[in-house]
Symmetry: C2
Subunit: 717 residues, 2 copies
């Protein structure tokens, strides 16, 4: 991680011919209005593309008043970008032509590739080979194309994209793994006054991937937000690196990730594995990386609008100023449901506000100016604002409605803007949508001055809460020295303790944890009753006895555990019973003996685990143990390796975190010890991710001072 | 409750003059376009009100081409409804005039009453007296009025209401406690093709209340859904009775209740009291009563549209049929997040669907027909439908998009409709909203045939999930014999055990529970060490010892509890320590002695409590005990008295319900015993609600067989 932090990411200028080509060839250009070759050419012409356009057609001499060429090699000047509007059977030939003539990049719309199975995969691999052979960058296949709305590069045939009027501001980029969903998002964005500067449908990602486009947008100075719709990331390590860079340069990555529910529970030997539904891991990864997770397409739009105000909220304390009690209560409900805080105003602040509002108005939060503000005295809106901008307890000031007839020439609005501009408070206006109502006059003036105005048919409060989280992540990334990512551990090589493809016994697993400095319960494996009694005598009573066998990972199921064994006689009795029961349930198991262990005092049970995620590689889980993990699934995930801050966030994000802080007259537990174990486990999996598949430390018992692993399970690949 | 069930609610024809007046007088009618008397008169004329309109003005002879009268007593025929467009200082005089001349109902717009405090309350009470004296029903004051859109009764001056075009269907009534929020909801409804038949802004509810209007709508045959916006119900008992009636006649009550977050934590002596945030109690009440809780205004609209399809979903198993993989995944995410089930289709069903769709399409759920359906072969939409209508596992079929150019003359749409009509499956279409796009042609045809079509800028899935819950509540109400509401208990009068305004000691509280047949831990209060030893010897060791004092409700805080006391010597020791500590911490407390109790074996700790809610009266809480209640606040509330089914629902609605069913190799606990305690507590509070303020039974320990109250606290009024 330290390495990543200091790494300067190279700009990926390789993608530049895709976004900023000087000369574009349209292969399959046509005058037949039903053909995509016609729609594509028309789109470029209508959009006034700034560069040269070469229609390519085997026989036509002219299409759309442009001279036409038989092949991409025949054009008067070297083509930068080729757009293939041809059917699947011509794609390969055309692509080779492009390669031969030095084309730098291409878009392939045709479908019928990996999405249809075996046969398609083979064809798609051939495209990949051609692209690699000629060093061409490729978008698609099976995509709706690429747009750069700042230079008229309308690289698409989709009427859903080409017929949308362009907005004034174009500073948000968007990349999508679903063409259909992407088009809908593009349209919705435009309807809310947001035009993406770049729109990229990556299709089957034969070459240019989702994260490649994110990377390009991060490096592009004209892009202020990099957003996308993601179904599954193929290169999570890259996305993680990009996210770190994005936080450094304060350019948010906003992703709508679908498939929250589809993962289901996977069959897994370890507890950790079975809890790691793909979405929980994505959620942990996004939080860890500071990526903003959009819940729906509208989150992308409203988050972007809020971010473009160029002011990050200083915290989550929010004051609502309204002219209707009902609206105020509703907005307060909404704010609190998304985690914003509607704080009580101090007496001082309340009294100051009261000086300038009518008696029947309320200066509590939500501030209710009554209909007096909306109908007769709009200057009332300024009264609380003037006080609140100086209130140190307030971070955000929210106006759920606002005089819609005010414009840039209205002195009151000018004053409003001046007050906001000279303050660090985040001021936002959200109006209820009235269809057919023209957008209020003052909107542009407000937005130009850093006051976002969001129509209420979006969910601006949800996005505002996300901006607050982003601001927090940004501050953390810039404030905190992240601490050593690699725990300073003097560990010797323990590879010999890790045989391949095995479920290790508790003793074997504990030995590995011990080697990494994690304290485990004292234990001796006894092969005979006498040895067990001897061990227990030495250890001191009471003791715990457990079957020790790599073939019995779930010891309770075979009745293979005795707690609170009090004396030698009970040790003998337990030895016999456990052995007998293990033999009966698992006649073929390799029994190493009976493990005699110290009986640990009561403490708070937690669980730490590692599982190998198909997307992210090793991920580390932390949660409260016992019924909390089984019934409430109160666990959180982070991708390995983790930093100290990751470990803290992970711990604090539990619903039951309060239990670690001490409840019901109990003292707080040793949270530093938990962080230490998490970092040591992170180091262990970093060192041996090639061989370790899963780890369960369950329960791990935390005390006021110290922590001990009471049981452990490691599974190797 | 039994009494309620059989009660036939009388129709409240008293409100009829408000909704269906034959002759309406407009007091304060004016030709000055700035006056509300002008706006009101114009609204009635423009809407083509079906009855007579009499402008009333002291001097004018004619207004708006209508003859004008000096007083409401001068009109040629008896006025049914008077609309008072006069200022606050004329309201009383005008109202008395109305009363004297036999007017049956009136609307008062003027504000300046209870909403401004003391002085306003006095004035408002005078209006109440006048209304009562003359038997007039009154809407307002401080309201925006009343609309009946089926007869042109536009009883409002608000341009927000009068300028809205009316839709075709008018079968949903709406009553609001916030004028501003109500107007916005009315407009939004119209924008989505829904016109309320009745719109009532009840203002300060001096006479006609929120629930009065709900009652009227339930009795009105033209209303199919009774909806509203509620800030606080003043007559919860009435609303409960109405809700029961509504379920019987299958007319849903849909309420958006605001103030989810505003309650905060109230200071309360009992645990139950401090957990009963007003919203949790409302939530429990709505579930118990079968009232649909709208999360936002759009829920009212889309729920209503779904209900008007006249088909209740048979369950929550949902199949999504789409032409885009991305849309399908997203819709599945949304469905599952609201509790619908995207079930796996059986092999048989999948194979049947596969017969009629292309190879590259997917017959899994979500069914992905690919762009082939949306672009070239729309008949594909019918292929899965034909199979799914016969699938017993499927309840709901969802089309997130649909060919928008189909209309009633399209044979494919006709076939689609025929298939749906002959099936019990709930079929719904939800399209993404494209602003400026005209509403698809086939919508009306679909809706007329019971297939709702909801634009995607609402949240149709959330509302669909609520319809599924409503259908479940409806089925329960009609299927289940609700069992005796009054637990059959032979209880003697225990009023002498309930002194007023006291915190009872554990012993006193336990005695009351015992009288109601709830088993409590055996206990003897000892006044001396000797007596304590004697008691413990008789009871058998180990025992528990606790300070017994009505002045010390929180015994742990004064170190007043000893668990696991093993012998006589320890009893003496504990006696001294507890007494000493109590004396030290609470020198003035009335110490009854030390309670010696049986040490109960381990079981699952739960908590049962009662608190007196300002709105609902006694409400009963149930939750898991210990950290579950303290950290996770995993509790549910129901309004007393509760039925057996309420008790079951309450128990099953816990997040940690699984713990009662048995986890981690534990057997399930005695759920019947829990239900029994809940019903006995319900009976207790029903019998003594006049004197009992709060009850805490915490912990109540449940075993595989049986249940014991280990501690109890009762507080009287």
């Amino acid at each position: 991680m330290m390495k990543m932090m200091n790494e300067v990411l190279p700009s990926n200028i390789e993608l530049d011919p895709l976004f900023n080509p000087k000369r574009v060839a349209v292969l399959g250009a046509s005058e037949n209005t039903n053909k995509i070759g016609y729609l594509q050419l028309k789109a470029l012409l209508d959009a006034g593309f700034e560069g040269e356009i070469y229609p390519i057609h085997p026989t036509s001499k002219e299409i759309g008043e442009l001279p036409c060429y038989a092949s991409v090699g025949d054009t008067p000047e070297q083509v930068d970008l080729a757009i293939l509007c041809v059917g699947i059977h011509q794609v390969e030939k055309c692509l080779i032509d492009c390669g031969k003539s030095g084309v730098k990049a291409a878009i392939v719309f045709a479908s019928g590739y990996s999405e249809i199975g075996e046969e398609g995969i083979v064809a798609q691999n051939r495209l990949k080979e051609i692209a690699e052979q000629y060093h061409m960058r490729l978008i698609g296949p099976n995509c709706v194309g690429l747009l750069n709305t700042t230079n008229g590069l309308m690289g698409t045939f989709s009427p859903g994209l080409t017929n949308v009027p362009l907005g004034r501001k174009r500073e948000v980029g968007f990349v999508t793994q679903s063409g259909a969903f992407g088009v809908l998002t593009y349209i919705a964005a435009a309807q809310h006054g947001l035009t993406f500067n770049y729109f990229v449908s990556v299709g089957n990602e034969v070459d240019v991937s989702f994260s490649d486009v994110i990377e390009y947008m991060l490096h592009d100075s004209k892009t202020k937000v990099a957003s996308g719709y993601l179904e599954g990331e193929k290169n999570a390590a890259k996305l993680r690196k990009l996210a770190k860079f994005a936080l450094q340069i304060n350019k948010p990555i906003v992703i709508m990730k679908s498939g929250r529910s589809s993962a289901g529970s996977r069959a897994a030997a370890s507890h950790t594995g079975s809890l790691a539904g793909a979405d929980k891991v994505y959620d942990g990864f996004f939080k860890q990386a500071g990526i903003v997770r959009a819940d729906d397409y509208d989150d992308i739009l409203s988050f972007s609008k809020l971010f473009l105000a160029n002011k990050l909220p200083t915290g989550k304390n929010t004051v609502i100023v309204t002219s209707s009690g009902g609206r105020g209560i509703n907005e307060a409900d909404r704010c609190e449901s998304y985690g914003l805080n509607i704080h009580a105003l101090s007496d001082k602040v309340r009294k100051e506000i009261e000086k300038n509002i009518p008696d029947f108005a309320s200066a509590s939060n939500p501030v209710d100016l009554t209909a007096a503000a909306s109908i007769t005295n709009p200057e009332l809106y300024l009264a609380p604002l003037k006080v609140l901008v100086n209130d140190p307890d307030t971070d955000i000031i929210l106006f759920p409605e606002f005089p819609i007839h005010w414009d840039e020439n209205t002195p009151l609005l000018q004053e409003f803007v001046e007050i906001c501009k000279n303050s660090d408070k985040f001021v936002m206006i959200s109006n209820f949508p009235l269809k057919g109502m023209s957008i209020p006059k003052g909107v542009q003036y407000l937005e130009d001055n850093g006051i976002p105005f969001i129509l209420g048919d979006m969910n601006p409060i949800r996005s505002l809460a996300k901006l607050v989280d982003y601001a927090e992540a940004y501050r953390k990334a810039h404030k905190i020295s992240d601490g050593p990512a690699r725990t300073e551990l003097d560990v010797s090589n323990i590879r010999h303790l890790l045989p391949a493809n095995q479920t290790l016994s508790e003793s074997q697993s504990s030995e590995i944890l011990s080697a990494y400095g994690i304290r485990t319960a004292k234990r001796i494996t006894a092969k005979t009753e006498d040895a067990a009694v001897q061990a227990a005598n030495n250890m001191g009573y009471p003791v715990v006895m457990k079957i020790d066998s790599p073939d019995i990972p779930h010891k309770t199921e075979v009745n293979g555990i005795r707690l609170n064994v009090q004396n030698g006689q009970e040790v003998r009795q337990a030895f016999k019973e456990i052995y007998g029961s293990a033999k009966e349930h698992c006649p073929t198991a390799d029994l190493h003996g009976i493990s005699v262990q110290e009986m640990l005092p009561e403490g708070v049970e937690v669980i730490v685990g590692v599982t190998s995620d198909p997307t992210f590689g090793p991920v580390i889980m932390f949660g409260l143990g016992g019924v909390f993990v089984e019934v409430f699934k109160d666990v959180s995930f982070r991708v390995a390796p983790i930093t100290r801050q990751d470990a803290i966030d992970k711990m604090e994000s539990l619903k039951g975190y309060q239990i670690l802080q001490g409840v019901r007259n109990k003292k707080p537990v040793d949270q530093e010890a938990i962080i230490d174990v998490l970092l040591k486990v992170s180091r262990l999996i970093e060192d041996y991710s090639d061989i370790i598949q899963e780890i369960d430390i369950n329960p791990l018992i935390v005390y006021e001072d110290g922590i001990v692993a009471a049981d452990a399970l490691i599974i190797t690949k």
